[in-house]
Symmetry: C2
């Protein structure tokens, strides 16, 4: 058999490949991703995948983009579960959603922020739109705080001219907010990312607290540090 008849072909094989990839990533981890294993499960040969993805890296990129989208959705849903004027509560809810997604899909979090695929380097320009959008919930709430004069953000280091172009593109997708909002978002992001990634790697429990409680504590510290009373 060389080419199966249409009836025997898998409809939308491109999607099927991605789905199988996710299934295997969830089961065996992102490091075990293998085109041949995907092909085996779909009962096709490995080179057939090359009709849909030019190489393994292209498949990984597609997966990363999907993951970012789901990640961003989680946070947007959390944000929109509260009215716009409850900014501190929204920030907290986004933070909880951030960790929840990471815990629900640890392999996807690893895929995005770790380097589990040997030799893979994410093509920045391709991934950036969805990556930037995945932080848009956070940035939008921080900017609402700024507009309400409740954002504590003094003396932030300025943008480097060399990165202005990069920065401009990023704003296109994350939202065109004030620089101070973006800077604060960056720090808030780094804090939740730090705690979540240590927890996922198994580094939290030995040091004394359960992950969820310590995380909530950190969220409150973040709130205390970056939100001030409107006066």
């Amino acid at each position: 058999m060389v080419r199966p008849t249409l009836k025997k072909q898998i409809p939308n094989l491109q999607e099927a490949i991605k789905e199988t990839a996710w299934k295997q990533i969830a089961e065996f981890g992102a490091t075990a991703l293998s085109l041949r294993a995907i092909a085996r499960e779909l009962k096709i040969t490995a080179p057939a995948i090359y009709n849909y993805f030019p190489d393994r890296d292209a498949l990984v990129t597609a997966l990363i983009i999907e993951a970012y989208a789901s990640f961003g959705d989680y946070q947007l849903v959390a944000r929109d579960s509260l009215p716009r004027e409850k900014m501190a509560e929204r920030l907290y809810a986004i933070g909880i959603a951030y960790r929840q997604w990471a815990i629900d899909f640890p392999q996807r979090y690893q895929l995005i922020f770790g380097t589990p695929i040997p030799g893979y380097q994410a093509p920045k320009m391709e991934v950036m739109p969805t990556a930037a959008r995945s932080l848009s919930a956070l940035v939008s709430v921080i900017d609402d705080l700024r507009v309400a004069n409740m954002l504590q953000a003094e003396n932030f280091p300025p943008v480097q001219p060399a990165f202005e172009e990069h920065f401009r593109i990023w704003k296109t997708y994350a939202g065109d907010y004030d620089i101070s909002s973006l800077s604060v978002s960056m720090l808030v992001w780094s804090r939740v990312h730090g705690l979540v990634s240590l927890e996922l790697a198994g580094n939290i429990p030995p040091h004394g607290a359960d992950g969820a409680a310590l995380y909530r504590y950190e969220l409150n510290l973040i709130t205390k540090q970056f939100i001030k009373e409107n006066k």
Copy 2:
């Protein structure tokens, strides 16, 4: 040729294997680590490595332990460059050293905190002593602050009973300090780790600031949040 005469043998082949591994990690990245490549460079065959390491993972573990040791040393040197009573300055210096090591050896930082080796899972109990020691500089200074009644650490979540054993072992190597010192250290660690790992992954510049400046800003925020005046 089957067994080379003593004169032709590489003296301390175990060390030579690790050195070659580091060289290749520095050059091609941790994901590209390959027993066969190491063997090629040393002009031996790949299975010969199995005389010194039971499998690839054992070699990786040995490398991780070496990396942790070097990482810890950097921070201890930074701490000890200042007198013990200058606690805030010591904390700042350790923070700078933390990032500096990561920037000097990005591949090693990835090796420790990322998951660059397919299928590799660090054996916690084996790695913990050196891993714990790599944070001992930080913990000791935080505890000095606590003793001086300058540590802001209210209402931290308690240790979970399930992890008390784990925790006890960890204390053996990181230092037997008060639980509040360890909790604060944990949070400080997660913050610097968050920022450093985002920067290494190339996620800082697009968002507006240069890494070093943003990092110093965050160190100051950490100081502000966890150090209070002795009164």
